[in-house]
Amino acid sequence: MIEGLYASYAAMLSDGRVGEWPEFFVDDCRYEVISRANYERGLPLTTMLYESKGALVDRIAALDNALVYAPRSVAHIVGSVAIVGRSDRAVRARSAFATYQTFVEGSSELFVVGRTFDEIDVSTEQPLFRKRVVVFDTELVPGALVYPL
């Protein structure tokens, strides 16, 4: 069930169905993207900090209506999914990921690699992220981080 959540999340990003991204989260969720450098030094500054499902919807609305960016396709590869803790209604899990980007007329290039540390709500049939912390290794992010990870 947990592996299935990660697989369908990666499929959503790789298929370009990013409009469905908020549906992988509970309403009262927290989504963070943070560099490994900040994470390991205990520095709180994030690259993305969204504190509700509404904030995720806002990101998608900005992608659709406001932000200026070049078209690209994304290959989001996820692996090493492991459950690291359980409670009644939630599971703590981690994963590793690599994201490749392909621009128009471009070759496919590695964008970022990293790990995720997640809390997953399993109180209903469909598991949903309650908290997703994406820690990326990449010291120099190549260009802009447009889509979520």
């Binding site: 993207v33 943070i34 560099s35 450098a37 900040n38 030094r41 520095l43 709180p44 500054l45 994030t46 690259t47 993305m48 900090l49 969204y50 504190e51 509700s52 499902k53 509404g54 904030a55 919807v57 806002d58 609305a61 900005a62 209506n65 406001a66 932000l67 200026v68 960016y69 070049a70 010291e139 120099l140 992010v141 190549p142 260009g143 802009a144 981080l145 447009v146």
Partner: protein, 412 residues
């Protein structure tokens, strides 16, 4: 490769080859990055204790910024005087001395050479000559300036005093964020953008694009009634400041009714990012101050950052962001600074547009370097009065940068 060209003195016609030519880039490194100019290297609170150091770069040269005494910061070239080894490979560290791993040459925190193994050889054989002078073989040391915890360094000891280089018109705006309070670094962002570093410097001086490119900005942040001022230093015209304020005194932006939306169809579900606390005596909600060549302070509501465009060859640069607050900030204020960071950086609601357009500038300028771009908005003046800048639609501030740049590069 283009030979050094004199006679290029019209800042309304900046040739594209200055953004891509490898020979010109090498001359830039020498004249600007290793020449008599101040370069940002860090914030004092990053190295609070004696022996703390951080690694950074000026131009392409790695340097170590070291707390060498309780009240002293030293900046040294991160390269052993012996065989050229880059000594330190970690981003931050702490030590009593700086020791090269290759042959264990040992330096003091201020870069002075303390000792070398086998200086007298073994059993009287080998070793360094009797007249070998430790004092002549220290790490290369840079000239340092500490402005209320904001650290700058220069490879050229003849660099003018920091306050003179900045100019009295701009210094008070640097002081607005760096007033002597103890700072707390909240974190970093780093991007690699495939575009010449100068195009980013232009971007921060370019008020023309702000309300045209940034739909998000005009939808949620900029108001019809926004007023602003600009300033440049009178001597070089290459340091600048832009400040804008909302016309209403209220600094609250958290309610939907307050937001003027150009795209009325975009409704924010979570507007917490736009909540702010008034911190300054003035009513400016956005202040950007830029110092020649590549340093920027931005104060946007409660989000405080310094940025640097570090060259990575002629065709790319690192955009390095340091976000900070103060030691005495409340938890609530820190949260606001962190939330508002969503506007900036690699994924920022405003910065994504700039990053993308910069890459397109890079690719566009490279294909026909003999052509020139146009910087004629507002005429040819390289400065304009500190007026409401919306009534002064002008690229004068960018021309001011190039006026000084041509001078420094000997291109006049």
């Amino acid at each position: 490769m283009i030979e050094n060209r004199a006679g290029i003195s019209d800042p309304t016609q900046v040739p594209y080859w200055i953004y891509s030519d490898p020979g010109h880039y090498k001359r830039e490194l020498e004249a600007i990055f290793y020449g008599p100019h101040w370069h940002y290297v860090g914030i004092e609170s990053e190295i609070p204790n004696v022996g703390d150091y951080k690694r950074t770069v000026i131009g392409e040269r790695p340097v170590l910024v070291v707390r060498s005494a309780p009240d002293r910061v030293s900046v040294v070239l991160n390269r052993c005087a012996h065989r050229g080894v880059e000594i330190c490979r970690t981003k931050f560290g702490h030590g009593k001395t700086i020791v090269c791993p290759y042959h264990q040459w040992s330096y003091g925190l201020d870069g002075g050479l303390l000792g070398v193994p086998f200086r007298r050889g073994m059993k009287g054989e080998g070793g360094y000559p009797a007249d070998f002078d430790l004092g002549a073989h220290g790490l290369e040391t840079l000239t340092v300036n500490n402005y209320n915890g904001l650290l700058f360094a220069s490879f050229d000891p003849n660099v003018e005093p920091f306050a003179d280089a900045v100019g009295p018109e701009i210094l008070p705006w640097i002081h607005r964020a760096f007033d002597g309070r103890k700072m707390r670094v909240l974190g970093y962002q780093r991007q690699r953008i495939t575009c010449n570093w100068k195009v980013y410097v232009e971007n921060l001086k370019d008020s023309y694009h702000a309300t045209l490119l940034h739909v998000y900005l005009i939808t949620f942040l900029a108001r019809a009634g926004q007023v602003g001022i600009q300033a440049q230093d009178a001597r070089t015209h290459a340091n600048h400041m832009t400040a804008s304020a909302r016309t209403r005194p209220s600094d609250e932006l958290g309610t939907e009714g307050e937001m003027q939306s150009l795209r009325k169809d975009i409704v924010l579900h979570d507007p917490r990012m736009f909540a702010s606390i008034k911190e300054y005596a003035d009513d400016y909600s956005l202040v950007i101050a830029g110092l020649f060549p590549n340093f920027i302070v931005q104060m946007q509501s409660n989000n405080l950052q310094v940025r640097q465009a570090i060259p990575l060859g002629p065709d790319a640069f690192e955009l390095s962001w340091t976000f900070f607050g103060y030691e005495d900030d409340t938890e609530e204020l820190t949260q606001l600074r962190l939330r508002q960071a969503n506007l900036s950086g690699a994924a920022g609601y405003i910065s994504v547009d700039d990053t993308e357009v910069l890459e397109w500038s890079g690719s566009g300028m490279r294909v026909k370097p003999e052509d020139s771009g146009i910087l004629a908005l507002g005429g040819s003046a390289t400065s304009h009065p500190p007026d409401d800048y919306r009534r002064t639609v002008s690229e004068a501030v960018i021309r001011g940068f190039y006026r000084h740049y041509f001078d420094v590069m000997g291109m006049k």
